[in-house]
Amino acid sequence: MTPSPSQRAKRWLRPRRGWVIAVPLLWLTLFFLAPFAIVLKISLSEAAISLPPYGAIVDYSAETLNIALNFGNYLFLFSDSLYVSAYWGSVKIAFFSTLFCLLIGYPMAYAMARAPARWQLVLLLLVMLPSWTSFLIRVYAWMGILSNNGLLNNTLLWLGLIDSPIRMMNTNFAVMLGIVYAYLPFMILPLYANLTRLDNSLLEAASDLGSRKFNTFLKVTLPLSKGGIIAGSMLVFIPAVGEYVIPELLGGPNTLMIGKVLWEEFFNNRDWPVASALAMVMLALLLIPIALFHRYQSRELEE
């Protein structure tokens, strides 16, 4: 008797199934999920001059159990305008960078998906190659280009387009440029994956029925690539909100981004509880974008 598909599946799964599931699940729970509980705990403790620099929440002495939750760190975040404007600044810069990535990346992904088959792999490798080199070095490249006596200003001066150097380095413009440059491949990849799956017969049908090219794009291609747009945008937006390296290297004193503030609270001020509270609020802020990304990605993973 041949086993039915479900029986077959059961046999496939029975013997060491538990172990196979447990190993990755336990690793990720311990080193990815559990740490968030600890961040939450420390965000509710008080800063102390000790090693590590925070006080205990739970204290047992004289037969009484004291649990002291300190919400002061959170209140502090919302009372100081520095933090609020840093969150707002991060979201704004990340939003516009994502938008520019999409505006540049979509036509690129579209052209790649429409390119002859033998060119597609080469183009894909060309787009991805920069992201495999070094993030830090690619951001660094812009420091030499954007500075006051840098390549771009010198070229513009030489061409006579400007009379004196424009200040580009250490501005929000430089930060956005850096984010667009660093994250562009991650926008293109899911868009390309989505657009290559697009059924050509739909486009032919639209054009047979007399639809103009641009109209077909708006009514057929764009709605069908929604998944790719969401995935690409989230892959850029979420990490960009917490970006530290780019604002540190290309931003100026006026660039307020939360990743940089968190880093400074942690490394320079050694205020671990406030840094933890900053991380928890950032996480709460990003929960909806992360859920959006997860919904798309799990559809991709499991189908």
Binding site: V20, R114, L121, M143, A279, Q297
Partner: protein, 275 residues
């Protein structure tokens, strides 16, 4: 008359120029003899010589390579298991949790991941006494964790593509699942394992933020050295280092492309021979 190139083709070319021109500038200025990176003062290889004599950079390269190698190996094991569970196992309790923990690290801001892992290590050390010192070991754990998420994505997309009927045939003929996995599934997905390993390796080599959080005084990785030098301003030695990195990655990518193309050609030949 030649056809006018379409808007998207123009954008693709402009986009590729945008991606590559800054890297080209880096490479050109690595051969500049002047310390001022903005002025061209003649061709010279002196920055490469200085780079090769810089002990701090060399030891950081060695540290980074070792961490990346072991992190990539462990990430391939964990990521492949996770991908296998997600694509081949029917629903079970914890499946949603597992798939969330595989997708979330792909986008999680690095400062959050780094801070939370450091706090975990500090807490663990308080309770269990391990890890006593933070350093290569803790960086390895941190890198393995986020790299395995990337490996899981790469491998699971391959696992979904492969023909399951061969696996099912082996099982029907009485092969134990573990044997079936190692003899049938693993060889078929091996290109994805290689791709996942390489991706994990480059991601680990490149990470600055997470490593800075979880590292201790003993372990300085290459990105940390580069970052502290770059913060001071532009330095031609970093340009030389950048050129070497770009060269290595381009070479590896070219080889990967060459073998992929050869594999494809062989498959087509085989298909033609069968007919």
């Amino acid at each position: 008359m030649r056809q006018r190139p379409s808007f998207t083709t123009v954008m693709l070319i402009a986009g590729l120029l945008f991606l590559y021109l800054p890297m080209l500038v880096l490479v050109i200025y690595s051969f500049n003899s002047s310390r001022l990176v903005t002025v061209w003062a003649g061709f010279s290889g002196r920055w490469y010589l200085e780079l090769l004599q810089d002990r701090q950079i060399l030891s950081a390269v060695w540290t980074s390579l070792r961490i990346a190698f072991f992190a990539a190996c462990m990430a391939v094991c964990l990521g492949t298991l996770a991908a296998f569970v997600m694509t081949r196992f029917a629903r079970f309790r914890g499946k949603t949790a597992l798939s969330s923990m595989v997708t979330a690290p792909l986008v999680m801001p690095e400062v959050i991941t780094g801070l939370s892992l450091l706090l975990l290590f500090v807490q663990l050390a308080q309770i269990t006494g391990w890890p006593g010192d933070r350093g290569m070991m803790t960086i390895w754990i941190a890198h393995t964790t986020f790299c395995s998420a990337y490996v899981a994505v790469v491998v699971s997309s391959r696992l979904r593509e492969v023909d399951r009927s061969i696996e099912e045939a082996a099982l029907d003929l009485g092969a134990p699942p573990v044997k079936t996995f190692f003899l049938i599934t693993l060889p078929v997905i091996s290109p994805a394992l290689a791709a996942g390993w390489l991706l994990a390796f480059t991601l680990s080599l490149d990470d600055l933020v997470i490593a800075s959080f979880v590292s201790g005084p003993g372990a300085t990785t290459l990105p940390m050295v580069v970052f502290s030098s770059v913060r001071m301003g532009v330095s031609p030695m970093i340009n030389a280092l950048a050129t070497l990195i770009i060269l290595a990655v381009s070479l590896a990518t070219f080889l990967a492309w060459y073998f992929m193309r050869r594999g494809e050609a062989r498959r087509l030949e085989a298909a033609a021979a069968e007919q």
